[in-house]
């Protein structure tokens, strides 16, 4: 997990990662953490990465020998030297003289799973996960929390079973300044709440600013996942991708919406694509969760009725209480079952954010394209969250900060005009800029004529594995 915050520098962007786990897993090999740092602005970024132990003590600082070019990006792979017995769990903060954005990827040598999550620019005293699972449906979630301040904080994780308004369990925690903790939902006290078979949501409160992320390492043959926490106070959430089997992968989307307020609230979910908008409503009690329908690819969606093989975006609005939300895309087959041939179930999860995370300038630090079957391809969806149609321009930058040269009829930037309110510009991928490439890594900077929200899907070419992450707002 990462976050961004200003810390005593005139212009500083900090990226926190919770947790970085480098212990060896006997089955799958050593853990790796990959930190992708992008410098989206027009000035180079002199940055460093400071690693913190769980107790908040500083473990060390990695300082590159040269600055990151303007519009440039880099990937920093970190892995334990000792394959067995070595174990460092902690967090990290990336500091820079100019604004940076970052994405983290955690993975094990001998696994195809990838946990990807975005950085934050600051923390809060409350954080929410609309989905939290404890050893159920092949998933087990670990909640990582980081204190982003130099002072100690105390707090609680409240676990709400689906539909319940009172916590099923409460897990208290104390963190030193810059300390972090990883709480396994299924672990027994004192390490966790011991919620095996749990399906619900969580609310975290703290006495100081924290950030949090869920990561779900491979368990029971399921795909690994990671997603960011929801910020407090949102009465509107944006989901830039809402898919009902539009592509060959038969991608379907599930949405979890949590009422994190104190009383009932009326929810309005509006799906939008090029053909129009489709609305459904419900009433959600405090603490309860709305599992907005699975968009199985073999069915005409009802309530609302969506066009076949729908490909659009979703906006959920609450009329009174704050809400939190998580999107989960999966690959399904024509019968509505998991569509992956292997035991791996492709899952792409990201947390929906609200207007505070929207911006006219967004950066996607980790953009990859490879024709290798074990490589990645990145697809970007940009949702218009403004009040009138907007134009969207996506600039593809090589890692050295230069613009990717277009080829094959592509353009750089890719331009989408008159994107409807609530709708999306998609797909944005490097092959539309240059289809002669066999491999590319870089970042994408997206400019809109209005406010946007960005979701990113990273999918392997020929494996049932994928991961989603959010775009990140920045100030050009």
């Amino acid at each position: 997990m990462k976050k961004l915050a200003v810390l005593g520098l005139a212009v500083a962007t900090l990226v926190s990662l919770v947790p970085i786990v480098l212990a060896q897993d006997a089955a799958d090999g050593p853990w790796n953490t990959l930190i992708i740092v992008a410098c989206p602005g027009s000035s180079p970024c002199t940055y460093s990465i400071t690693a913190y132990n769980g107790d908040g003590s500083e473990a060390g600082t990695y300082t590159p020998t040269s600055a990151l070019s303007a519009h440039g990006s880099t990937e920093i792979a970190i892995s334990a030297v000792v394959g067995s017995g070595g174990a460092w769990n902690g967090s990290a903060i990336v500091s820079s003289d100019n604004e940076v954005a970052a994405t983290a990827v955690m993975y094990v040598d001998n696994s195809i799973d990838r946990e990807i999550y975005s950085s934050y620019t600051g923390g809060a005293t409350e954080a929410y996960f609309a989905t939290t699972l404890g050893h159920i449906w092949g998933q087990n979630h670990v909640i990582a929390i980081q204190n982003i301040t130099s002072s100690p904080v105390t707090g609680n994780i409240y676990y709400y079973a689906a539909g319940e308004t009172t916590p099923t369990a409460t897990f208290p925690f104390s963190l030193n300044g810059y300390g972090s903790i990883a709480v396994d939902t299924s672990a027994s006290a004192p390490d966790g709440p011991g919620l095996t078979g749990f399906s619900g949501s969580t609310k975290i409160t703290a006495s100081g600013d924290i950030v949090a992320a869920i990561h779900g390492p491979n368990y029971s043959g399921q795909d690994a996942v990671a997603f960011e926490h929801s910020l407090p106070g949102n009465t509107k959430l944006y989901f830039p991708t809402a898919l009902g089997g539009p592509y060959s992968a038969q991608l379907a989307t599930f949405f979890a919406i949590q009422n994190v307020g104190d009383s009932d609230t009326n929810l309005t979910a509006t799906f939008a694509d090029a053909s129009g908008t489709y609305v459904t409503t419900t009433v959600l009690g405090p603490g309860a969760k709305w599992n907005l329908f699975p968009m199985y690819p073999d069915r005409v969606q009802t309530n609302p009725t969506l066009p076949e093989k729908f490909s659009g975006a979703l906006t959920v609005e609450s009329d009174s209480q704050p809400i939190a939300g998580v999107s989960n895309q999966k690959a399904m087959n024509a019968a509505g079952a998991y569509g992956c041939a292997s035991t791996q179930h492709q899952m792409m999860e990201y947390t929906a954010q609200g207007p505070a995370a929207s911006a006219q300038n967004q950066v996607v630090p980790f953009v990859r394209y490879s024709t290798d079957t074990n490589g990645w391809t990145t697809y970007i969806a940009v949702q218009n969250v403004d009040t009138s149609p907007i134009d969207v321009s996506a600039y593809f930058y090589n890692e050295d900060g230069t613009l990717l040269t277009p080829a094959g009829g592509g353009t750089n930037p890719l331009v989408f005009t008159n994107v409807s309110v609530g709708g999306k510009a998609s797909p944005i991928w490097v092959n539309a800029v240059n289809d002669t490439l066999s491999e590319w890594s870089g970042s994408v900077i997206i400019e809109g004529t209005g406010l946007m929200q960005v979701a990113v899907t990273n999918k392997q070419v020929n494996n049932c594995n994928a991961a989603s992450v959010l775009g990140q707002a920045f100030t050009p």
Partner: protein
């Protein structure tokens, strides 16, 4: 990850001999820090074409003064070369953990020495600063990309590169996850 090394530090003459018999593969893993104490001899200037007549072998450049060269071969588990694969050198970052010092490897693609394997899987890092390195094969986060490790201990393989030396890291086996693509 299997590792088959011939010999860590070579004089130019030894380079010639060993490359001509490059099919020879030792089953004995060689892992630093034992290499740290290996005596080094400056590498004389030898034309690469004299010692590497076969087009299937890499051209091993003579290092510039004070620098070194690292080369080796990346193969799959069947022994077939892995061509056109990005390769990076990682450096050691020592973390002061709650349990004491612990080394991690860091490969920063914007900073690290990098190269690609040729059609026969050979890779050469030319004119590299003397240091202790780990070798990362593949683009980070791609499936099967990882730091080279000893197959048995899972410890990362570390190589000490001395000034004016040519370091042959031998054959490194890329191991894909069991459910990776073809």
């Amino acid at each position: 990850m299997k590792y088959r090394a011939w010999k860590p530090f070579l004089t130019a003459g030894a380079v010639a001999v060993l490359l001509l018999v490059s099919a020879c593969r030792s089953a004995t893993p060689v892992v630093s820090p034992a290499l740290a104490t290996s005596p080094l001899s400056p590498v004389a200037t030898v034309s690469p074409t004299e010692v590497l007549p076969s087009p299937t072998h890499p051209i091993i450049p003579t290092p510039s003064p004070g620098l070194g060269v690292i080369y080796g071969r990346l193969v799959d588990e069947a022994g077939n070369p892995v061509p056109d694969c990005p390769m990076f050198l990682g450096i050691i970052w020592t973390l002061q953990t709650e349990a004491g010092p612990e080394d991690v490897l860091v490969a920063d693609v914007a900073q690290a020495p990098s190269t690609r394997t040729n059609e026969q899987g050979y890779f050469v890092f030319a004119d590299v600063e003397p240091n202790t390195y780990g070798i990362h094969y593949g683009r980070p986060a791609d499936i099967g990309a990882a730091f080279a490790r000893d197959e048995d201990t899972q410890n990362a393989l570390l190589f000490d590169l001395a000034p004016d030396s040519v370091l042959d890291v031998g054959e490194i086996v890329r191991r894909l996850p069991p459910n990776a693509g073809p």
